[in-house]
């Protein structure tokens, strides 16, 4: 595109320069012919009724036959009175008499094989109180003019071409140098696609480093996601094997025991599937960050739980500022608050407190209840990450495991303390700037 524009630009420039040179050359020819007319006029002398023009002129080309410069004098009627020795064979066919002081300049192409410039000038001579009007005519062969034009055009195009080629070459070098990082990027991406490389390596200019950084993060997150899926699938398959083994070994047990075993193991399998499903859905690494109003969602969960635990008549205090915002996925917030608050409704003795402390660095969710609390020896186990369900002790809910996963996904932290309500106090702290 840029090259095309440059070609157009050079063509227009050439046309303008050509036209300017042609005009200048014509003017120069005209001026020279004017001077030749003036020299003819100055050599001519009025004697009585007759104009006397010397046969031999100081400009030698007037004297040589077919020299390319021809002089004539016409009377007021256009009748030829004199012609130079050079003009034996050529007549001023297109020249017309001029009024005194007037001049003209033009081209005469009526002669076979040659083109002639025609310059005329009207004069007036006085003799014995009588005016005599004459028109001096000079014809000049335009071959030399044409030759100079041709040579000018040749050199014009030559130099313009040289400049254009230089510019195009420079442009090509600059562009290919400037775009090389993009070519490299495409090349590296292809490498990643083909499995030869894992991330975009190499040095990229500052303008591109943001893009490559983001691409690397995206690639990395995709890869981690894939690995997680593999891991989850492996976890799922392996953790299902134990209950399956128990069931298949129980085939020979008496009916009642078989029934108990099938029931227990299917419950266990259900727990495993639910846990892995939850973990697959929860965004383990924050991918979509939106601003979610915390109070609005906490209120929704409170309303839902008030219905479910209607019999228990739980009093739930919510201390959340209307402006408090959770930067992350709405589903994650609902899942975390839902599990926290559900536990508090379930294990508390009818009083629950949900607060959010919004500082400049973190958003802290504090969920308290007035239940039995959590034994100190259990606290670490609950907040540990990634403990597989089949290795967990019986009765440990999957809700908390999912909550811990979510909090870790946001690089947050979770602590368990005693609440002033006398039950458990969970604090989930989310950094504001690090995810």
């Amino acid at each position: 595109m840029a090259s095309l524009l440059m070609l157009v630009f050079f063509s227009i420039t050439a046309a303008i320069l050509d036209s300017a040179f042609t005009n200048a050359a014509k003017t120069s020819v005209h001026e020279k012919m004017q001077l030749q007319i003036l020299s003819l006029i100055s050599s001519a002398e009025q004697q009585g009724h007759n104009l006397n023009v010397p046969t031999y002129q100081s400009e030698t080309r007037f004297n040589e036959a077919s020299s390319g410069l021809y002089g004539y004098v016409l009377d007021r009627a256009g009748k030829e009175l004199w012609r130079s020795r050079s003009a034996l064979l050529i007549s001023p066919v297109t020249a017309r008499p001029q009024l005194p002081g007037k001049h003209s300049f033009g081209l005469d192409d009526t002669h076979l094989g040659i083109e002639l410039f025609v310059a005329t000038y009207g004069t007036i001579e006085e003799s014995n109180g009588k005016d005599y009007r004459y028109t001096f005519v000079v014809l000049q062969d335009n071959t030399s003019y044409k030759l100079s034009l041709v040579s000018y055009r040749e050199s014009l195009w030559l130099w313009l071409s040289v400049v254009a080629i230089l510019l195009l070459a420079t442009q090509h070098i600059l562009l290919s140098r400037g775009l090389r990082p993009l070519h490299d990027l495409a090349h590296h991406l292809k490498d990643i696609e083909d499995g030869h490389s894992e991330s975009l390596s190499g040095n990229y200019p500052t303008e591109l480093s943001r893009l490559t950084g983001n691409l690397n993060r995206l690639i990395d997150s995709e890869r981690q996601q894939r690995q997680r899926y593999h891991q989850r699938l492996g976890d799922l398959a392996h953790s299902l094997k134990t209950p399956l083994a128990v069931i298949s070994n129980a085939a020979n047990e008496p009916t009642d025991e078989l029934r108990t075993i099938v029931k227990e193991q299917s419950q266990r399998m259900n727990q495993i599937v639910r846990y892995q499903l939850q973990r697959a859905v929860v965004s383990q690494q924050v991918t979509s960050i939106t601003k979610v109003n915390i109070l609005e969602h906490a209120t929704k969960i409170k309303q839902a739980l008030d219905k479910v635990y209607k019999d228990k008549a739980v009093i739930c205090h919510i201390h959340i500022d209307q402006k408090s915002i959770f930067q992350g996925d709405q589903g994650d917030l609902l899942e975390m608050l839902g599990n926290f608050m559900d536990n508090a409704y379930k294990y508390g003795a009818g009083e629950v407190k949900v607060s959010v402390v919004d500082t400049s660095d973190t958003v802290d969710f504090i969920i308290e209840d007035n239940g039995g609390g959590i034994d100190e020896s259990q606290r670490e186990k609950i907040t540990q990450r990634g403990a597989r369900l089949d290795t967990q002790e019986h009765g440990q809910g999957i809700g908390m495991a999912v909550v811990v996963d979510i909090i870790n996904g946001y690089k947050g932290s979770i602590t368990i303390d005693d609440s002033t309500l006398l039950g458990a106090k969970f604090t989930a702290s989310f950094p504001k700037h690090h995810y």
Partner: protein, 227 residues
């Protein structure tokens, strides 16, 4: 008590139907949202169990429309999804409780009983009405602490009357809440049940537990209803 189940999985629907019928509930079944919505809006149910993933009209929409039609019976949601987002949406649309699939039938029955009890304003599963007592879990009527020997239908009539004290219940309403829609209705049957209940609970005619209001229906004796 009459219950509507809306569930598109035939095997689960059948299991639910059997379990609830065995518990003495009158059960109607629907296998898609459209049918469920029609039945829910046409018949007087005491509770509905609605699956969220239904053909034609999804469960949330069915619940919303039923609530819009001023159907206030408790609704229990069944859902295969275990996320809070799903639960909040379901409960927000007008349901009263949820159960995640797969579930234990005992758990479902407990939830159903709790919802029914709550809907008639009983704080616990058993309540006394003067000399009478009602135990929803044991499905029994007691007289001065002694269990009265009743048939399933006699119990159902007495349960409905006791859970709606201070209300006059017509024979039609009683029939509708005790039998499912396939039953060939004959209101004389109700008269027979009431007569037998009077004989079994109050053979001497001293406490007069059930009043007959001519042309209107039956009512628990206000003296007993007030405890």
């Amino acid at each position: 008590m009459r219950i509507l189940i809306v569930e598109d999985e035939p095997l689960l629907l059948e299991q639910l139907n059997t379990s609830l019928s065995n518990q003495g509930y009158a059960v109607d079944c629907a296998s898609d949202g459209e049918e469920g919505l029609y039945q829910g809006s046409e018949y007087p149910y005491d509770l509905a169990i609605i699956d969220l993933g239904l053909p034609k009209i999804d469960g949330i929409e069915v619940i919303k429309r039923l609530r819009k039609l001023k159907k206030n019976f408790p609704i229990l949601i069944l859902t295969a999804r275990d996320q809070w987002q799903e639960k909040v949406v379901g409960l927000d649309s007008g349901a009263d409780d949820y159960l995640t699939k797969p579930f234990e039938m005992d758990e479902l029955l407990a939830r159903v009983k709790a919802l029914l009890r709550r809907s008639v304003g009983m704080a616990s599963a058993s309540q006394t009405f003067g000399p009478l007592s009602l135990d929803l879990n044991a499905q029994s009527i007691g007289l001065n602490g002694e269990e009265v020997d009743l048939t399933a239908y006699e119990y159902k009539v007495m349960e409905y009357l006791l859970t709606h004290p201070h209300q006059v219940i017509s024979k039609t309403v009683l029939t509708e809440h005790i039998y499912d829609q396939d039953y060939d209705r004959d209101s004389n049957v109700i008269e027979v049940f009431v007569r037998r209940l009077r004989l079994k609970i109050d053979p001497q005619g001293t406490i007069l537990p059930i009043e007959t209001l001519r042309g209107r229906g039956y009512r628990i004796n206000p003296a007993i209803a007030n405890g």
